[in-house]
């Protein structure tokens, strides 16, 4: 295992590398390839700058999320995009790092209002596949100086460079949280209710739905954040806006429910889990006409329906096909084919290794984009040693 402690050591280690590297932060997100020499950034750690008055933080890529969260908590601030912790869903252990958040562009429920990881990331330092130390962006909120490689690095899964340092803009942590719930709505009505809420001026910062299953009724959750009086006011207003969907309950609090939504805790026991980005109004047809008649599985909706989690446990896979890997592959192909038709993308997030090696984990890109992606990888990593195979 290679475990550099500084940016210079990262650069030296990349230059010295004789073969593929498996780059990881805390190893909790299942991003790094199984083969290749383990290249851990856990020791490139620490907050190098935190200016609460400028809403800015800069930290080493290996800095634990717990350290970042604690520092921000003490000043009543937060990362706006509410990054998911993958440990419960994936059954992994270890310490999630800020570099891993960037590598996988990890966001949570607040993404629909405050943007994703890539929207709050304002600067990166990284080492490319040649072993050269590079920077882009910086520590200021508005920056259009040169190409935006900051966003390119976010969600590039370590295939374009090894992150050494990342900078973020922050938000004040809301004083209060409130949740409006609607139960028993059919899927299409639940999505329509979330759309109506998100189209209102009441600044909904979370919109999630658990569809009905068996005896369990569906539940729609809408989150409001801010000063307490304002949250209560907007809760009451939103109730009126949504009157056609039934009587909504409003209560202050509910932070734990949002952690569960963020971390997809309900799918911890699933064998296979997919993550779909989709146009919300396309979801009812996709699930009710396309998936459920053929593939027994559960779905969870976030981002007002724009993010769909699909999960299958062993029993459900068994109903699709005798061999669970073959069953997973069938559903996987169905999802990616459907996304290709309607626009959107499906990623296989959790699965037995046998399935992950059999199918394209990420949604395959159209030929011209795939050619550009290859071109970029060749420019950033001419030897093809940075997490090879992860993104094609």
């Amino acid at each position: 295992m290679i475990e550099p402690t500084t940016e210079q050591e990262i650069a030296q280690a990349v230059r010295d590398a004789a073969g593929p590297l498996s780059i990881r932060g805390g190893g909790t997100r299942g991003m790094a390839p199984a083969s290749g020499e383990v290249f851990s950034l856990a020791r490139v750690s620490g907050i190098s700058l935190y200016e609460p008055g400028a809403l800015t933080i800069v930290a080493g890529a290996g800095t634990p999320m717990s350290e970042i969260d604690a520092a921000l908590q003490s000043e009543g601030q937060m990362l706006p995009f509410e990054p998911m912790d993958h440990r419960v869903l994936l059954g992994t252990s270890g310490e999630p790092t800020i570099g891993g958040v960037v590598g996988a562009n990890v966001s949570g429920p607040r993404r629909l209002r405050a943007g994703g990881c890539r929207d709050s990331l304002i600067g990166v330092r990284f080492v490319d596949g040649r072993g050269e130390v590079l920077k882009n962006g910086g520590r200021v909120m508005k920056n259009v100086t040169g190409y935006d490689l900051v966003k390119l690095m976010s969600g590039s899964y370590g295939t374009l460079g090894v992150l050494s340092e990342v900078s973020f803009k922050l938000l004040p942590k809301p004083d209060a949280t409130g949740v409006l719930t609607l139960t028993g709505l059919p899927l299409a009505d639940g999505i329509a209710a979330m759309s109506a809420a998100l189209g209102s001026p009441y600044e909904v910062t979370g919109a999630a739905m658990t569809p009905a299953k068996g005896d369990a009724e569906s539940i729609v959750r809408l989150r409001l954040e801010g000063f307490e009086s304002s949250v209560s006011y907007r809760g009451e207003q939103l109730k009126k806006t949504l009157a056609q969907f039934g009587t909504a309950d409003f209560a202050l609090g509910g932070e734990d429910d949002w952690r569960a939504v963020r971390d997809v805790e309900a799918f911890a026991s699933k064998t296979c889990v997919w993550r779909l980005a989709i146009k919300a109004s396309d979801v009812p047809a996709m699930l009710e006409d396309g998936i459920w008649p053929k593939f027994p599985c559960d779905a969870l909706l976030d981002w007002g329906g724009g993010l769909v989690w699909i999960g299958c446990d062993d029993a459900e896979l068994g109903k699709i096909a005798q061999d669970p890997v073959a069953a997973g592959a069938l559903l996987h192909t169905h999802l990616q084919d459907h996304m290709k038709t309607i626009g959107g993308h499906a990623t296989l997030l959790k699965a037995p290794d046998a399935l992950k090696v059999r199918v394209p984990v990420f949604q395959p890109e159209a030929a011209p984009l795939a050619a550009l992606a290859n071109g970029l990888r060749t420019q950033f990593d001419p030897r093809g040693i940075l997490n090879p195979g992860v993104m094609g």
Partner: protein, 482 residues
């Protein structure tokens, strides 16, 4: 500002090129008459002018593709142009280039309130995007000062911002999908109505690439429900330091205003004489605006006023209604026009960490003395995006050059304190040769390698963004191969 010498091979090609372009475009969409090409000789950086070889005004993605294919085959540089409002020379032609204007691409393709997006052709102006949805209670958030005229294509190329980006972000945070044509004519679809496009963050890369990676013909943009209301408070202070401390305290207190605007004495005096907004006589003026219901606005403004009062303001004036709000904004909104009435000016837009505000303002004052040119400061204080206006006399020999030298010093100062050369206007030609101040050679090389992937022949807007000597070998090699 130096531009590359026109290539005689390309100049000699003109008649054949025009003929080929006319084969794929309507007759009036190819402009080659020397009187008419002058319309495209500059953008809003009017100090630099050069008519292009010809200009084309395609009306569809297919026509854009056909034009680019021809120019690619002939090895002719193409300069994409939105509405020509760039302050950085982003759309400045060279004599051997074809201007590709998107002005005829101005349709709304789809409006979807359930999923909160609008899909438009990119020649459409920024304000008319909001215009298409505002009667239904929605708006498009990025609001550059030029929003009446500027095109979405240019907004995407420069990743334009605006006064309200503290809360809503800039163009890149509001862009969901694009149709883009690369230099060889390939049409690429990226993203769409969903959030987070697949694979690498192509949208993030294209947004702000100054028209060097492709021509964006259609865009899917996020639209937002209009807030219930908005109201500003005006706060005057005795010094820049105190105003800076107040901004920092407001942010730390957990209020997130939609805008925090700053004006210094010079700007206050000029807008007072021009717009008569009734601004107080002081060194530093802040306009802080918040949104929400009347009660929510009262609560937030109450907190802001408390913080402001601790810093002993010269004046603290809260807008009670729309008319008073309008009066508070009047001066700020007319600031650039007012400054233009009294002087020629050069507007910079370096960004700095908010904590460096007092130091940077003091140093700008010293530079003003040193170079003998007056400076007015008006800017977005919440995000540190400065807008120093250097006043000069275009008719006085040497004054433009002196203002450029002074501008360069101010931008170096922004970088020195941890900031950047440009926060929302873009590099264009204006800041091209200062890129070495902010970036090491390797940082620029990796960006140029990105362009190599999209446009290996370096034909799209080639003499921009990168210092001429840094891009020279690529531009020349490309021509040798053509």
């Amino acid at each position: 500002m130096e531009m590359p010498t026109p290539n005689p091979r390309i100049l000699a090609l003109k008649s054949r090129l025009v003929q080929r372009l006319r084969e794929v475009l309507p007759h009036d969409a190819v402009i080659d008459d020397e009187m008419q090409t002058r319309v495209y000789e500059c953008d809003a950086l009017t100090a630099y002018k050069c008519p292009p070889l010809c200009a084309v005004l395609p009306s569809s993605t297919e026509e854009v593709s056909a034009v680019l294919k021809i120019c690619h085959q002939e090895g002719v540089p193409v300069v994409p142009r939105g509405s020509g409002t760039s302050l950085a020379g982003g759309a400045l032609p060279t004599a051997d280039s074809v201007i590709l204007g998107v002005a005829r691409l101005n349709d709304v393709i789809e409006t979807d309130y359930d999923n909160r997006f609008i899909k438009v052709q990119t020649g459409r102006t920024n304000l008319s995007v909001t215009g298409a949805v505002e009667s239904d209670g929605f708006f498009y958030a990025p609001d550059p000062s030029s929003q009446l005229a500027c095109a979405i294509a240019g907004n995407i190329a420069m990743n334009s911002g605006g006064a309200h980006c503290l809360k809503y972000g800039v163009t890149t945070n509001n862009l969901l999908g694009v149709t883009m044509v690369t230099m060889d004519g390939t049409v690429i679809e990226i993203g769409g109505a969903h959030m987070d496009s697949a694979g690498y963050d192509w949208l993030g890369l294209i947004c702000g690439s100054e028209g060097q990676l492709g021509v964006v013909t259609e865009a899917t943009l996020r639209i937002l429900p209009k807030p219930e209301g908005a109201r500003p408070v005006l706060i005057g202070y005795k010094s820049a330091e105190i105003a800076g401390a107040c901004v920092s305290d407001i942010i730390k207190a957990g209020v997130l205003p939609v805008a925090i605007e700053y004006m210094d004495r010079k700007v206050i005096e000029v807008v007072e004489s021009y717009a008569k907004a009734g601004y107080p006589d002081c060194e530093a003026l802040l306009i802080v605006e918040v949104e929400g219901s009347p009660a929510e606005i009262d609560e937030q403004l109450g907190l802001i006023k408390q913080i402001a009062a601790k810093h002993d303001p010269v004046e603290l004036r809260e807008a009670k209604d729309a008319e008073e709000a309008g009066r508070i904004w009047l001066g700020r909104k007319s600031a650039f026009g007012a400054m233009g009435q009294i002087n020629d000016y050069m507007c910079l837009d370096g960004t700095i960490p908010v904590s460096s505000l007092p130091y940077v303002l003091r140093r700008i004052g010293e530079l003003s003395e040193e170079f003998g040119l007056e400076v007015g400061n008006v800017f977005h204080a919440g995000d540190g995006n400065m807008h120093p206006l250097i006043l000069f006399d275009a008719n006085k020999p040497g004054d433009l050059e002196t203002s450029e030298e002074m501008g360069a010093e101010i931008l170096k100062l922004c970088v020195e304190v941890g900031g950047c050369l440009t926060g929302e206007h873009g590099v264009g030609i204006e800041k091209r040769d200062l890129m070495n101040v902010q970036f090491a050679p390797g940082d620029l090389e990796i960006q140029m390698r990105v362009k190599d992937v999209f446009d290996p022949a370096w034909l799209l807007n080639p003499a921009k963004v990168f210092p001429l000597e840094s891009s020279a070998s690529r531009r020349m090699q490309a021509d040798a191969a053509a």
